[in-house]
């Protein structure tokens, strides 16, 4: 009887450790279930490619799992947006090293015989998206993040590690450039009509 009691006493710490490990994995699975789609959209807004975005999602959660900081976060969205943004920016840098065709507004809009014809026939959303893709990175990233699940300027500032005022300024500048380019395209379309 004493031996049985001693055996149970020896197994108690191991049992507690296993229970703690199982609980930790359950909490992490809950975090993945809640936020994986949000993280995907953040990554996609920057990478513009579903495959790369999913890679970024997996890397983001794997990085979190290796550490223990995720167990004490207060704002899940801001924390995860920051991690995903960092990983996506690293991926963009790696993708830039690979040979690729540079994105250009005129090239993006062309597609057919002329830019005007392309704008007339192309999908409006696709045209806007291509214009956003052609913006400078410092303007495109905050504007792209502002389109993710209604992220506000404060969350974007936390994710990018810059001041909230800077985020607002960059988004305003990006939208102004976008309007100018779209206006130019619209003038061409109306003139053609």
């Amino acid at each position: 009887m004493i031996e049985l009691t001693q055996a149970i006493a020896l197994q108690e710490p191991e049992l507690a450790a296993r229970q703690e490990s199982a609980a930790r994995q359950a909490r992490f699975a809950g975090l993945v279930e809640r936020q994986s789609r949000f993280v995907f959209r953040v990554a996609y807004a920057l990478l513009r490619n579903s495959h790369d975005a999913e890679d970024a999602v997996q890397e983001t959660f794997l990085k979190l799992y290796r550490g223990s900081a995720w167990e004490a976060i207060e704002n899940e969205r801001a924390f995860l947006a920051r991690e995903a943004w960092r990983i996506a920016v690293d991926k963009i840098a790696k993708l830039r090293q690979a040979p690729h065709q540079p994105l250009d507004v005129e090239l993006a809009l062309r597609g057919g015989a002329s830019p005007e014809e392309t704008v007339l026939t192309a999908d409006w959303n696709a045209a806007v998206h291509r214009l956003v893709d052609a913006l400078p990175q410092e303007l495109r990233q905050p504007l792209a993040l502002s389109t993710v699940d209604e992220m506000n300027s404060r969350e974007i500032a936390q994710a990018m590690g810059i001041a909230e005022g800077t985020v607002r300024t960059r988004i305003m500048r990006a939208r102004r450039i976008l309007k100018q380019k779209l206006a130019a395209l619209m003038e061409g379309r109306y003139e053609k009509r």
Binding site: V32, A45, A53, E54, Y65, W124, A127, V128, A144
Partner: protein
Amino acid sequence: MRSDDLDAMDRALAQYSNVEPLAGIEQRVLNRVRAYGAVRRSGLARWALAVAFAAAAVLTTTAVLSHHPSAKSGAGSQPAAASQAALAAPKPAAPAEFTKRPGHYGRRPAPLSREERALLALVARAPDQARDALLDLQRRGTEPLRIEEIGIEPLRSHYVDHYANEDANDDAK
């Protein structure tokens, strides 16, 4: 730019990142995390195995070196009193072939044990006695073994003796 165009731009921007991932992304993420955990566990197991092997090798080497004759003590076989003085005698010089040479990192010769030093002292003090002892030892070692003839008497049965005595008494009567 017209106001409806601006609204259209805002709608288009709202769709900029409104993309759904392929179904099952949560499971794929968790699978990758589990795979990472399994790899880490197997890595830890490999390290533990390697450390265990290294520890076993160190222990084996230590055990072999500690059982070398040079490390043995003379406990349990105290030499004779006559040889006690010889134990304090200075250690005899090592043979020439074992002398340390510059740049030689070979195995050093084992120093003489207490018994060997006692034997050397006996030879130095009483060479005749030592020679007789050695010859006697050799003679004992070379003489053939003599085995005495074994005589076994036949067993006598108590039952037979008893009835033989009774017959003898009957005859006497």
